[in-house]
């Protein structure tokens, strides 16, 4: 991995016969600016949140030590438990909805025909909109009284999508899919184009059908992309906030109050900073755990093997 960089100091040493200075090549100090930024903007707040999760603070008065009080209270709180369940449901469902669609779209668009390029542009449009704009637009479109159901006389669409507790979360998951499928399709499209044509040619000679091509060549070759895309999707769905905040703000009732929203509402509406910090820490730990687990299970150390075999 670090071959090109690692080679240079050796070359330098040859030229300058072991002198220090620029010729000595990169040292650990080159990473210092990035490390300082990371430390200041990522590690310090993270430690702050961790410390705050053991404190009582309403944002106004003095901080006071809470011990494990915040942790037992938040984990025993029905609202937070509900939020954890919702977040899990959403993580799983978002993966289940988005992965097959992105995969099929990406592979389809990896083809060379001209019309696919036009379609690809259309498919990628949602990538360009901010979550807030998407949220406001969908809220207006789905409005049962003034939305598209009335505008176009489509009565079957005249349902209270965002106001009905059992419809709100599925509706939001569909909108999230609309937002993020283009990005993941792009990943799959790129990866599918990397698959050497010679493999397909060999399969064609052996008389493989298109479906067989997909299942026996494309899918295995995309294994690493699937893992990358899934990691992004799953860790991403732990942080979905803006779209849900704009569309339902956690409502109706608690129907869409996922963990990040629960954290915001606890911290900045109920002014329970300690409790909000507990949720923050939970999110960080779960996110890291899932990312690590996906990497571990998928054998990331053997990442390059497929491609090298192909070449």
């Amino acid at each position: 991995m670090t071959n090109p960089i690692a080679r240079r100091p050796a070359a330098g040493r040859v030229r300058k016969s072991g002198g220090r200075g620029v010729g000595a090549g990169p040292s650990a100090w080159y990473a210092a600016p990035a490390l300082v930024f990371f430390g200041f903007f990522a590690l310090v707040p993270l430690i702050g949140v961790f410390v705050l999760s053991f404190m009582n603070w309403d944002g106004l008065g003095e901080l006071s030590l809470a011990g494990a009080g915040n942790w037992t209270r938040m984990l025993g709180n029905a609202t937070t438990q509900h939020a954890i369940v919702l977040t899990l449901i959403m993580t799983v469902m978002c993966w289940v909805i988005q992965t097959p669609i992105s995969l099929l779209l990406g592979v389809f668009m990896a083809g060379q025909q001209r019309y696919r390029a036009v379609l690809a542009v259309l498919y990628f449009l949602p990538l360009l909109f901010s979550a807030t704009a998407v949220g406001i637009a969908f809220t207006a479109l789905l409005d049962p009284n003034f939305g598209m159901s009335r505008a176009f006389g489509l009565d079957f669409l005249s349902r209270d999508f965002l106001g009905n507790p059992s419809l709100a979360l599925p509706t939001i998951m569909v909108v999230i899919a609309w937002c993020f499928v283009p990005f993941h399709s792009l990943l799959y499209q790129g990866a599918a184009r990397q698959i050497p044509a010679s493999i397909y040619e060999a399969a064609m000679i052996d008389g493989a059908s298109r479906v067989q091509n997909f299942f026996y060549i494309t899918l295995p070759q995309l294994r690493n992309t699937i893992i990358t895309s899934s990691t992004l999707m799953i860790t991403g769905s732990l942080t979905y906030f803006d779209l849900i905040f704009v569309m339902t703000a956690g409502g109706p009732g608690n129907a869409t109050r996922v963990l990040p929203l629960d954290m915001y509402l606890t911290g900045f509406r109920s002014y329970n900073m300690g409790g909000a910090s507990v949720i923050g820490v939970i999110l960080v730990v779960v996110g890291l755990l899932i990312a690590w687990l996906l990497n571990h299970v998928s054998g990331s150390s053997k990442m390059e093997s497929d491609m090298e075999g192909a070449l």
Partner: protein, 435 residues
């Protein structure tokens, strides 16, 4: 017309002066920090609503007292709410602290972040409707004074909708319930309700509790008495709400109607709904959103109906009494005195009241009859003004009166009541846990 021109010119020069003053004040502030002596008084004010009243008032003060300027900064509602608490917590609060009284004010007082105004602002207090002073009092001492319009909640209705079914506006709860199937049969949503915004749900429980048991049950809750939510008036109100929901009183899509975008009042002026329970500010919204509907005189308004067997006085009202000024404790004595003198001199003086009435809002002042009578919307303003002045009690919106944490819990549980996800017993249990 002539008067208007003058005031506009005065406004422009005043705004320039105020702008220059705030620049100067800001420069002067830097080296010594916000709370240093001689830094000048500051005020953070909200845009929208009666903004012009505030602008005119600070302009008058700054023109009259060049040595004792008040520098203003302007914020949008949501941005302000999140900024002010941080600023107060960090000891960087402006001298004049715009707030909603109630639970947050109690927090400020408990942390000694605002000063006692009981003695120093008697002159200003004498000009204010007494019931509107109450939310600004903590333990009998005045910590905040109303600074704009009174905002009682009323029952608004569409006159054409009532003509269509040949009915009269309801004066009792039973009449109201009888109207529900009639409106539904005629294709109307009986009540427009902005469930997506959650806070409009509060108006129902506030009025029903008051009509059934008067203001005392909620006063006990604010006082934090154990099991105060178990009061039969609360349970009765919750049961009535669920009866109305089951009868189809809000139609079947109230959960996604949003008040901030005016979708609830749009249901009224587009002829889809018959009635709406909302704060007095929606009158101004109707004027801008549906000028034709308003000029045809189609909007009716009335008090909340009585409930059979209820003990609450029919003149009792709920809503937002007003917004409030407090004075930050972090400034110097000198700066605090400027703010106190400003309140005594400017608050609800003649010009102040005139500006509020001109904006179509109900002034929180004792002596506003003449200004209201001269207004374009005299009939409505006089109705609201009398309602406020003659009110047996004025219960502050529950979410403002309670602590932030309890208010959030209330909004969530109440929306679950409206969505029929929980029953009144569960609501009472959940809310008692916040006391």
């Amino acid at each position: 017309m002539y008067q208007l021109k003058i005031s506009r010119r005065r406004m422009t020069t005043g705004m320039l002066a105020a702008g220059a003053a705030s620049l100067l004040a800001a420069c002067g502030n830097r080296p010594g920090g916000a709370s240093s002596a001689g830094g000048g008084a500051t005020a953070w004010v909200l845009t929208g609503g009666p903004e012009q009243t505030f602008r005119d008032s600070f302009e008058r003060w700054n023109t009259a007292y060049s040595e004792r300027q008040i520098a203003t900064e302007w914020f949008a509602n949501d941005a302000y709410k999140e900024k002010i608490r941080t600023a107060v917590g960090a000891g960087n609060a402006p001298t004049l602290l715009y707030n909603w009284a109630g639970g947050t004010l109690a927090d400020y007082v408990a942390n000694e972040q605002v000063i006692d105004l009981t003695e120093s602002t008697v002159t200003a207090q004498e000009r204010i409707v007494p019931s509107l002073l109450d939310p600004g009092k903590i333990d009998g001492k005045v910590y905040a004074l109303p600074n704009n319009n009174a905002q009682p909640v009323m029952l608004y209705y569409s006159k054409p909708a009532f003509e269509a079914i040949g009915a009269q506006p309801p004066t009792t709860w039973d009449e109201l319930m009888r109207l529900v199937p009639e409106f539904t049969a005629a294709g109307y949503i009986p009540f427009a309700e902005a469930g997506s915004s959650q806070w409009p749900y509060l108006m129902w429980i506030e009025y029903l509790t008051d009509r059934i048991g008067g203001p005392e049950p909620f006063a006990k809750i604010v006082a934090g008495e154990p099991d105060a939510w178990s009061d039969p008036a609360i349970t009765g109100a919750l049961e009535k709400i669920q009866e109305l929901v089951r009868a189809g009183g809000f139609g079947d899509s109230y959960g996604s109607v949003d008040a901030d975008s005016g979708a609830d009042i749009a249901l009224i002026h587009t002829g889809k709904a018959a009635m709406i329970l909302q704060g007095s500010w929606v009158y101004a919204n109707f004027l801008t959103d549906a000028p034709d509907f308003m000029s045809a005189g189609n909007l009716g308004y009335m008090d909340f109906p009585s409930v059979a067997g209820g003990t609450g006085d029919l003149t009792n009202i709920v809503g937002n009494p007003a917004n409030y000024w407090s004075i930050s404790a972090s400034g110097s004595q000198e700066v605090q005195q400027i703010a106190i003198d400003y309140l005594n001199e400017e608050l609800y003086n003649e010009d102040y009241i005139e500006a509020l009435v001109a904006g179509g809002t109900i002034p929180a002042a004792l002596d506003a009859d003449a200004a209201i009578a001269a207004s374009e919307h005299a009939e409505y303003l006089a109705y609201g003004y009398d309602m406020v002045k003659n009110a047996g009690s004025f219960t502050q919106s529950w979410d403002q009166a309670l602590s932030s944490a309890a208010a959030q819990e209330l909004l969530t549980n109440l929306s679950q009541i409206f969505l029929l996800q929980i029953d009144p017993e569960q609501f009472v249990t959940n809310m008692n846990a916040t006391l």
